[in-house]
Symmetry: C2
Subunit: 204 residues, 2 copies
């Protein structure tokens, strides 16, 4: 066969492998676990503990958080209202790609505005977006203050700090409410695992 | 144990599960396959065929392309010089996240500028970025013209079309050169698979 003929053999098939194929390979369903809650409510702690348990059971999950988003994809964004919206929009779009890849992706950002969370939800099919409200009283969050942010906010050193000088809009119909000021980490994680099993996202 | 005590049990461990853990789970290494080449050179065709073969061998890969990027994450971007740079930057950052998740991620965009490709390369460790130059003569690309774009570009209906009215900067030191006007799709894919094996990204 001449080179010329070989070249014309190129066909333009695209996308033979779909989300379903990848999910079969991984024996799990791709989904977005959207953690939302006040600073210090325990979003990252719960997401990390969940990731560990999922991994130990053989499931592939991935966490998007401030560390790998704000310093990378969204490093061009500040904290203006438009930039906060764009920050959440991009996180939503990236989460969608991960879910499409078959991965159980979790996002742990305060994401205080209902409209932004709803935008992220609107990107994927019903059932793929699991909003997890990490509920914790402001008092408890402020007592924990793991990063010392509340102290700074109270001192007026951080403008528009969620819960202090900027609103947090509580989720109205989250798929899950996890109360970290009433339960320990293990119990919180087990609640999420039970939910994932009930929705056939994981099987074990 | 009282609720109050439980709350104070919350610890702030983060990130116990790393890229290495996920790679062990998947039995592969996360990496970025950055396909670059003229429109019609066969980037998507090769990436799709490769994805199929990787899947059939039990490897998790994911393709980023115009379909899932331009209509989603990068839908706010046009084709101005700044927007083209930002387009590639974001694709690079998202690819980095996928590689960190342990996934073999492929990108098939013309990405005509060396500086942009080098920026994407700079985001990850050496060895994680595999630049694949899908080499094909302009003549052959124009003969294929799968989307009728060259015809439009020659008629002056598309300004700044790569190869016609805008430059394509050939990769100087790509990890792989795949000549689609000299080899068929299977041979091209097998070349890439051999490379991935030689670098222990896959083992089969």
């Amino acid at each position: 066969m001449s080179e010329q003929q070989k070249a014309t053999n190129i066909t333009w098939h695209e996308g033979q492998i779909s989300k379903t194929h990848r999910e079969s390979l991984l024996e799990q369903k791709g989904a977005i676990l959207w953690f939302t809650g006040l600073s210090g409510s325990g979003k990252s702690t719960i997401a990390c503990a969940l990731e560990k348990k999922l991994h130990d059971q053989g499931y592939l999950s991935y966490r998007l958080d401030g560390d790998n988003i704000r310093h990378g994809l969204n490093k061009d964004l500040g904290f203006s209202p438009q930039d906060r919206v764009e920050n959440i929009r991009r996180i939503g779009e990236v989460s969608k790609l991960f879910a499409d890849a078959g991965v159980i992706v979790s996002t742990s950002f305060i994401s205080p505005y209902k409209a932004d969370r709803d935008l992220a939800r609107s990107l994927v099919l019903s059932g793929e977006f699991i909003e997890i409200y990490v509920k914790c009283s402001l008092t408890a969050c402020e007592e924990r203050d793991p990063k010392g942010l509340y102290k700074k906010a109270r001192a007026g050193k951080i403008p528009e700090f969620t819960g202090i000088s900027a609103p947090y809009e509580e989720p109205e119909k989250p798929e899950l409410v996890i109360e970290t000021d009433k339960k320990n980490v293990d119990d919180c994680v087990n609640e999420i695992l039970s939910y994932l099993k009930s929705k056939n996202i994981i099987t074990a």
